[in-house]
Amino acid sequence: MWKARREDEKPSTPNPSPNQNPQPPAPVVPAPASNQPRTVETPRMDTYRAVDVAHIGKSVIIKGELSGSEDLYLDGEVEGNIDLHNHNLVIGPNGRVRANVFAKDVVIHGKVDGNVNGVEKVELKKSALLNGDINTQRIVIEDGAFFKGAIDIHKAEPKPEPVRAVTPVVAPPPVASATGGSAAAATEKK
């Protein structure tokens, strides 16, 4: 009556019970009090060392315009302007920026003196110190981050809908009725 279920027919369990696959709970990091020494969060470097991410180390000092068309991990000092257009910028815990920043997503662990323009998102980590204005669509501020300035959240512009191929509707030629038709048609006839 009951068909033996084969091993490969077992239903998949998207949420296995803790006993089957025990995982340690995610560590909860308490927010540091402001009078305590600021703990500098060290982001996982391998996260930012992908092939397409440029890396500026903590001993590098740049004065002038910094622009590019790839993601950037910045742990050094920059004085001037940073413009990455549609690419992401991560300012590491050792990063010291005295510049206006323009990028798609901006993540700040270090110190920034200047305005930050993140097209999609700006994220202030708990070790972040930002003196300047923020202009973005979305913002994430971790407890402990310091911010002095203005925040302007602008709504995402609606994406233009794909243009459908529309067959042009050709209006039928006016047909003059036996009783006279429209005035225009009547004029043309004349």
């Binding site: 308490p30 927010a31 202030l124 501020i141 911010f147 925040i151 959240i153």
Partner: protein, 236 residues
């Protein structure tokens, strides 16, 4: 370590029995420690605030107002303000006053005045009548004495006519050891308190002092809040 409810430092009750609930906690071996102590200041306590509820009426409409928050950086405050369609400004005046380590006391009269001048040259630098509303929280209670009046005057100057200001003041019952709290906006009528840095309460204002301090404002309303706090709503 304090064991009472927030702002009850001056209470004369025995430290272990502050309420019937605490009595039974002790009886069964429970802890009277409030959650914020054990969580290293990270936990938050929700508190209903009539003053803030009244304050929000000034900033609900229209969109595009400029709101200045003088407390510690709070993502929930920023999200609340920007969620209303306004522009949020943040300036942690207390942190700045403590970090600069300006010589306000014990020095000569001239040095205190110079320190105040230096402070105001770097902080609260906005055009006159810039803001529609200001959240001052309980900054006045923790500011060094020489800074209180100049800061209040500066805030008056940068607030628009008809602009609203919300300030909190401890009552005498709060005691000298009243801890400093960061205020997070939860919704239009609820605030969340979170233990902040160990700023020392500098003074307790009486209602008459508050009225004198803000005498240039057009209207002033007092609300008695919880935990020995008076909430004051001012309109310029």
């Amino acid at each position: 370590m304090r064991t009472g409810t927030p702002g009850c430092a001056g209470s004369q009750l025995p430290s272990l029995v502050r309420s019937p609930l605490d009595f039974f906690r002790n009886l069964f071996g429970g802890s009277t420690e409030p959650p914020f102590e054990s969580a290293a200041g990270a936990a938050r306590i929700a508190r209903r605030s009539t003053g803030f509820n009244q304050f929000t009426r000034y900033i609900l409409r229209p969109d595009g107002q400029k709101v200045l928050d003088l407390g510690a950086t709070s993502s929930s405050n920023i999200l609340f303000i920007t969620g209303l369609g306004h522009k949020a400004y943040n300036e942690d005046v207390l942190k700045a006053a403590n970090e600069k380590r300006l010589v306000f006391a014990g020095g000569e009269e001239g040095s205190a005045a110079e320190a105040v001048e230096r402070f105001l040259a770097e902080e609260l630098q906005y055009e006159p009548e810039s803001f529609d509303a200001v959240l001052m929280w309980d900054v006045c209670d923790y500011l060094p004495e020489p800074l209180v009046k100049p800061v209040v005057q500066r805030i008056y100057r940068i607030t628009k006519p008809q602009g609203a200001l919300l300030a909190f003041f401890h009552t005498r019952a709060a005691g000298a050891e009243a801890p400093y709290y960061r205020y997070h906006i939860k919704n239009e009528e609820t605030l969340e308190l979170q233990r902040g840095p160990e700023f020392q309460l500098q003074r307790v204002f009486q209602n008459r002092h508050v009225e004198n301090l803000f005498r240039e404002y057009r209207s002033i309303k007092f609300f008695l809040g919880k935990e020995n706090i008076r909430e004051v709503l001012l309109v310029r």
